[in-house]
């Protein structure tokens, strides 16, 4: 057995882990990022099927901001990581849509479009919507909003039309809520800013070029990235404080600063600690990706994203059935400006799924169910965009089972635990949470999570 001492160890090479690693390496700390898989990226990774690269996350990079807006989260993240805006090669969304039953609200990176759409569809809510937007702009979500407060209640403080409340709730839930039936109020504020007031974009080439940039930056600062290095457990001293990790190989690495992106429940498991049932996330997804022989727009799928629901009261919860076809998100990646997918299209559809059902199938049944539900998802999405099936040249589909395998998240959760720890407190001394369960979501949020926890607990503190 070998023992090696580091200033900090980072568990997981997702967005938050890479960002934390860059910050630490940049200031001369000896740091290693430990990743169980062959590839980095975590939830936002990529894989190859039939010679084509697919992204596992990244419907959209939220928080789009032009470089002149220096206080925007994206600009702050880029400064902290010493990256340039132009290196990201971001292509902005075209028009996107909230489509719930017969309610349609279009939005784009020009916020005026959503304002006009709300005024058109909900004329009586015009003033209320303006007051809601003002409240979102002025709020200080991390210091003044109770972390467990309800996002829906926050919307209802300003908006009196329930149909509008639910229409706006749909993307807030889909792009970051780990809480069934609701979204945390502070998250609602951050997500509304990230999606509507800032905007959506996609890096040209998908997630890989962005990951390449982060990894190159990290390595240039002397950081060690160890793939195929799963953490088996966290080592603790007689007072219970972490003093290092044991790897799957049995090797030990020593450090009294551990930043874990494994998730709250998962990190506590690594430390030999239990957690409450209410800490376990329950929401997982099935997603299909359909490569098309023609651009999405040519078959009538004109929007970049469509958040859809067949009712005005969408259910944001773990379904009883394997997949909930009643609401979801359609992402037409080839509707982002400047994308490399053209002339072919790429349509992705995501729906809520029951992780227990998906993980219990035997291999043969799993394949059968996957094919069956993949087809059903395409049919469910068709009325809101277009039916991708006739033009499909390649299909790939992932389920809660795939997510569990690649992220190590118990139950295939995408947004992790419903109880976030904004201070990164894992309950174990020297172990700090980064990423999803620290509470910042989206790609920019995850990067900010790694940065802020690394700054606070591994740079300032030392």
């Amino acid at each position: 057995m070998t023992a090696d001492r580091y200033d900090a160890l980072v568990i997981g090479a997702g967005m938050s882990g890479l960002a934390a690693g860059i910050r630490l390496a940049q200031f001369g700390r000896r740091v290693a990022i430990l990743e169980r898989h062959a590839l980095w990226g975590g939830l936002n990774s990529f894989y190859k099927r039939g010679g084509r690269r697919f992204d596992s996350g990244l419907h959209a990079l939220t928080n789009f901001a032009r470089p002149e807006s220096k206080t925007a989260p994206l600009s702050r993240v880029l400064r902290q990581l010493r990256l340039r805006f132009d290196d990201l090669h971001l292509g902005e969304q075209g028009r996107s849509r909230l489509h719930l039953a017969d309610v349609r609200l279009d939005f784009s990176n020009d916020f005026a479009l959503l304002e006009a759409e709300v005024a058109r569809a909900f004329p009586a809510q015009r003033t209320q919507f303006a007051s809601f937007v003002r409240a979102v702009r002025e709020a200080e979500p991390f210091t003044t909003v109770d972390p467990s407060a309800s996002g829906r209640a926050f919307l209802r403080e300003h908006l009196t039309d329930e149909d509008l409340v639910e229409a706006l709730m749909l993307p807030l839930c889909w792009y970051g809520s780990a809480r069934e039936g609701d979204v945390d109020a502070y998250q609602a504020i951050i997500l509304f800013r990230a999606i509507f007031l800032e905007g959506l974009a996609r890096p040209r080439g998908g997630i890989k070029p962005l990951l390449d940039l982060l990894v190159a930056r990290y390595k240039a600062e002397g950081g060690e990235l160890r793939t195929h290095h799963g953490v088996e457990s966290v080592l603790r001293d007689s007072r219970g404080a972490a003093r290092g990790v044991r790897l799957d190989s049995g090797d030990e690495l020593l450090s009294d600063r551990i930043l874990s992106s494994a998730g709250y429940v998962e990190t506590r498991n690594l430390c030999g600690e239990s957690s409450a049932p209410a800490d376990q996330g329950r929401l997982s997804f099935v997603e299909t990706q359909r490569v098309l022989s023609q651009p999405s727009a040519s078959i009538g799928a004109l929007h970049t994203l469509v958040f859809f629901s067949d009712s005005l009261r969408p259910a944001w919860r773990r379904p009883e059935e394997p997949v909930d076809l009643s609401n979801g998100v359609i992402a037409c990646s080839d509707n982002y400006a400047g994308n490399e997918i053209a002339p072919r299209g790429l349509m992705r559809v995501t729906c809520l799924a029951n992780p227990e059902t998906w993980c219990a199938y035997d291999e043969a049944e799993y394949r059968t169910q996957k094919d069956r539900w993949e087809d059903a998802i395409c049919a469910a999405a068709a009325p809101y965009a277009a039916d991708p099936r006739p033009l499909t040249t390649q299909v790939d589909c992932f389920t809660p089972r795939t997510i569990t395998h690649y992220t190590g998240h118990t139950g295939g959760t995408v947004y992790g635990s419903p109880r976030k720890r904004l201070d990164g407190d894992s309950g174990v001394p020297n172990v700090h949470l980064i990423g999803t369960d620290q509470g910042f979501v989206g790609i920019v949020g995850a990067l900010m999570s790694g940065i802020s926890i690394a700054n606070r607990h591994a740079l300032v503190a030392q």
Binding site: F27, T71, R76, R79, I451, S452, N455
Partner: protein
């Protein structure tokens, strides 16, 4: 390091953190935050770069001493004595 060198050192650090900012016309007696857009995270980076480049430690309680360039000169003067300027690191 003399006054001019300390100012150059700080200007160069700001250029590293925020490459788009014009640092040549910064007033020495006005808060840096009021002249360029530096948030608390950027401010931390000034401190971290001082440590990285010059081995100078600034405890968190003293961050406020670095609010202006004049403040930087007064506070860092003794700590930077005998050190040589490193720019474009």
């Amino acid at each position: 390091m003399n006054r001019e060198e300390i100012i150059l050192a700080i200007q160069d650090i700001i250029k590293t953190i925020a490459p788009d900012e014009d640092v040549s016309n910064l007033k020495t007696d006005v808060r840096l935050r009021d002249q360029i857009e530096l948030d608390s995270m950027d401010f931390l980076d000034i401190v971290m770069e001082l440590r990285k480049r010059y081995g100078v430690q600034v405890p968190e309680d003293d961050y406020k001493e670095l609010a202006t360039l004049d403040g930087c000169v007064a506070y860092l003067g003794p700590k930077m004595q005998g050190k040589s300027l490193k720019v474009g690191v």
